[in-house]
Structures are given as C-alpha cells and as structure tokens.
C-alpha cells in the first residue's frame, strides 16, 4: 500500500466529499 502522507499534504486544501465519493485538492488552503 502506498500512502500519501501529511508532509506532502501541507498547505493544500484537502476536501473529503465522502458522500460524493471524491477527494479534492486545492492550493493555498492555509492562507
């Protein structure tokens, strides 16, 4: 199993749309 870890997720906006079955990524999520 590969794992996309938290170092790589830093500063991204990570969206879990569990009901919609999708994961989203955006930039500058912490700004």
């Amino acid at each position: 199993i590969g794992i996309f870890g938290n170092i790589q997720q830093q500063t991204l906006e990570v969206v879990y749309d569990v009901a919609g079955g999708q994961l989203g990524f955006g930039y500058k999520g912490c700004s």
């Binding site: 794992i3 991204l12 994961l23 999520g29």
Partner: protein, 434 residues
C-alpha cells in the same frame, strides 16, 4: 529562465526550517464549522511548553514507520476478508458489505496515533476543551477519562471527568453501537456491569481502553452534537504526546464524519500547516446545506475515492508522478497493484519500490550540484545545504485518477533536520506489492 520558473521552486532555505513565532492571520470567512489545526512541532502548539521535550526527527520517522507497518498489516487483512466475501456478494449484496466490516480480524493493529496535527473540541456539559490528535486513518474518537482506573499519561489539559458532566452516559453492552466497535477498532467490545467497554490498540503497542460513552460534543458555538459516541479511556498508554486523545475521521459508522453526517453531509476539509505556518484548519460541511453529494468548489480538483479496496481508509488512485516538469516513466500498474491511501497521520509518503526508485533517481539528477549528506532513518536522499541561503529544487506533481494534477508545496518535497541534512521527503516500500 522560463523553464526554471515553470518546473523549479527557487526558495530561501529558511522557508523550510521551523519557526518559533506563531502569527495566525485574522480568521477569514470559511464555510461550515471550522476548527483551528496546529502542527504539534509548529510555532502555534501549546503542548510542548513547560520544558517538555519535543521528539527528534529520527523519533518521528521511527513512529511513522510503525504506523505504516500497522496500516499495511490492516489493509492486507481486510483485502483477505474482502476476497472471502466475494462468493456471497451475488446472493446478498447488502449483507456482504456489512460482513466485510464485521469480519475484521481482532488481531490487527490500528494505525499509530503519531499525531502531528491537533484540533480543539469541547466535550460535556459544561463543556471542557480537549486537544485531540487529528487522524483520517482511524475511526474511534477517544479521550482520557477520570478516574483513570488503570493508567493515564500526562496531558496538557485537565483530564475529562464524566462525573462532572450533566449530559454524560455510558453505552449499554447490548446496544448496536457497542457491537459496532468491532469494525471501528478491530477489537470485540467488552462488558462491565452492563456498560460497553472498548479497546483500541495501535501498531507500536500504544492503546486506550475504557467505557464507550455518549456526551455532548461542541465543535463550534453553533455546532453542538448531543449524544456523540466516544471512548472514555481508563487505561491509556503510548505516543500521544500531551494531547487528550484522538479524533477519528475515518469512514466507519462510529467516526465523527458519520456521526455528524446529518448536519455536515459527510463532508470535511482541512489544511495542514507547515512547521512555520500558523493558519491550519479542519472544517466540517461545505456551507451549502446538508447532504450535498456533488460538491463543487472553485479551484478544487477532484479525484474519485477508490472504494473497491475496503471501507476503513480513504483510497485514491495515483496514475503518475512528474519531477521537474518531466513525467516519470512508471507504469500505472505499479500504483494500481499496490493501491494508495491518503492519511493525515502518516508523515512521509510511501511509494511502491519501483516508483520511489524512479522518483529518487530523477530528483538526484536535478539536485546534482548540491553536496550530499548522510541518510536519515528511512530517508535516503539527503543534502548538506548549510552553505546556501537560496536553493532551487525541481517541482513534484502527482497525477490522480480523474485528471487531478496536484503540485506539491516545497515543504512537501524536502524535510529538514537542520540545514546540514535536508532530505527528500519520500520513502519506498519494500517491494511493489507491499
């Protein structure tokens, strides 16, 4: 010059090093119920004060490997169970899905709560604030509870006292919720004087055992949940730092995501701050009303969850990786054979062995002008940048299913153990099929 701008990050080395000043910006408009997220080693944490010793990077990486070992063991066990269920699927589809959860092996370890990121929530009436580790790789939310019948580790805030909460109650052994602990924790629940007892064990032998209970959960002033089910730990030990416990953001029915689904529609988002950053958040709901399944948000690119591989972790499909603007020559099958999950608690991204070899080789070529440094634990590609103030590193992008291209922040490419040991923040699995 254009190529360098497009495919390289040019940055000050100090931007990768930890900061000691916490400067959160004024809270902007954010849709939904938003909580502040802080990095446990970052400038805004209050958990390392009073002379507490922060873990070294080597210790963090060792804990990270224990967590990864545990996740991989659990996924392997689940896959085995899912295969066993295939025969039943055609005869009773609903039962098959349910069974695949109910048959989780009790021996499996759950991911280690390394806990690099923390949120504050309120529990009970009157509400008590608790700093909880933020974990998308596990399901049960738990906190240490008085009277700590067996053992509690030292935490920063007062330990939650259920006798002081007017809305606290234990959950009965015979309830459906109690039975649900088997899939949420990997362990069958126990029973004590008709009260349901949970036990959750992590990959490094860390654990929490206690009463499975209900109480009022306060996320924000406007977002309050009566009867939130959580673990009230009476015997807790492990690598939880000075936090009060853990918040489980997994997919199981007992996770906070599912328990708040009526209000937030199983939708949440977060931003994890860097070790210099101050503005992380965890936000439940999308602010567009409940049960929005087809969420659309400006500037967000979506990839479908790869749900075929089990329902505990959040699986996604990686199709490829680019370094310095060049797509690595890796067959998509390399990623498909292994599968990939996204996890807020694992620090370093793990890639199939072949993929990591290709990434490392390409990265080294672009970084050939910099002097190398010794390996650091599981990180084998390191540089001594102590003689540099400004550096240029190749951009790294992931291509996920659904044509979702994600370019990593420079802080997602390198991890520093001081300027003299700056390492590529990726690691390979032992083989492509692990």
């Amino acid at each position: 010059k254009e190529t360098i701008q497009s495919h390289f990050h040019t940055l000050q080395l100090t931007s990768l090093l930890p900061s000691s000043s916490c400067n959160p910006a004024t809270k902007g408009k954010r849709r939904g119920a938003s909580l502040e997220v802080v990095n446990r080693q970052g400038p805004c944490t209050q958990l390392n004060q009073k002379g507490a010793k922060a873990p070294t990077l080597t210790e963090i990486l060792a804990h990270d490997q224990a967590r990864v070992d545990s996740i991989q063991a659990r996924v392997t066990d689940q896959s085995y169970d899912l295969f066993k269920k295939k025969d039943k699927k055609s005869s009773n589809k609903k039962k098959s899905v349910k069974d695949s959860k109910a048959n989780l092996p009790a021996k499996s370890g759950l991911p280690l709560g390394t806990g690099n990121y923390i949120v504050n929530v309120g529990l009970g009436t009157p509400k008590k604030d608790l700093s909880l580790i933020f974990d998308t790789g596990s399901d049960l939310t738990w906190t240490q509870c008085q009277p700590c019948v067996k053992s509690c580790y030292a935490q920063q805030q007062p330990i939650f006292d259920p006798s002081a909460s007017k809305t606290y109650s234990n959950i009965s052994c015979t309830s459906t919720a109690c039975s649900g602990l088997k899939s949420a924790t990997g362990n069958s629940p126990g029973c004590s004087s008709s009260n349901c007892v949970y036990g959750i064990q992590y990959g490094d032998s860390s654990f929490s055992v206690g009463f499975f209970a209900k109480d009022k959960l306060t996320l924000t002033q406007k977002d309050v949940f009566d009867g939130f089910m959580f673990g009230c730990g009476q015997n807790n030990r492990g690598l939880f730092g000075k936090t009060a416990g853990l918040i489980g953001l997994g997919r199981d029915p007992l996770s906070i995501v599912q328990q708040t689904a009526q209000k937030f529609g199983k939708y949440f988002s977060y931003c994890l701050p860097t070790s210099r950053g101050s503005n992380g958040h965890l936000t439940f709901g999308n602010g567009n009303g409940v049960k929005t399944s087809k969420a659309v948000k400006n500037g967000i690119t979506f990839t479908p969850f790869a749900s075929s591989q089990g329902a505990t972790f959040y699986f996604i499909d990686v199709l490829g990786i680019s370094v310095g603007g060049k797509a690595l020559s890796i067959s998509p099958m390399v990623f498909q054979n292994a599968g990939t999950i996204i996890d807020s608690g694992t620090v370093i991204t793990r890639l199939p062995s072949t993929a990591y070899g290709s990434l490392k080789s390409s990265f080294k070529q672009f970084m050939s002008k910099y002097p190398t440094a010794p390996a650091l634990s599981l990180l084998d590609t390191c540089y001594d940048l102590s003689n540099y103030t400004s550096i240029s590193i190749p951009k790294i992008s992931f291509n996920f299913n659904g044509n979702a291209n994600v370019e990593l922040d420079p802080n997602g490419i390198l991890i520093t153990n001081g300027a003299s040991q700056v390492c590529l923040a990726f690691a390979g699995n032992g083989d492509d099929d692990s």
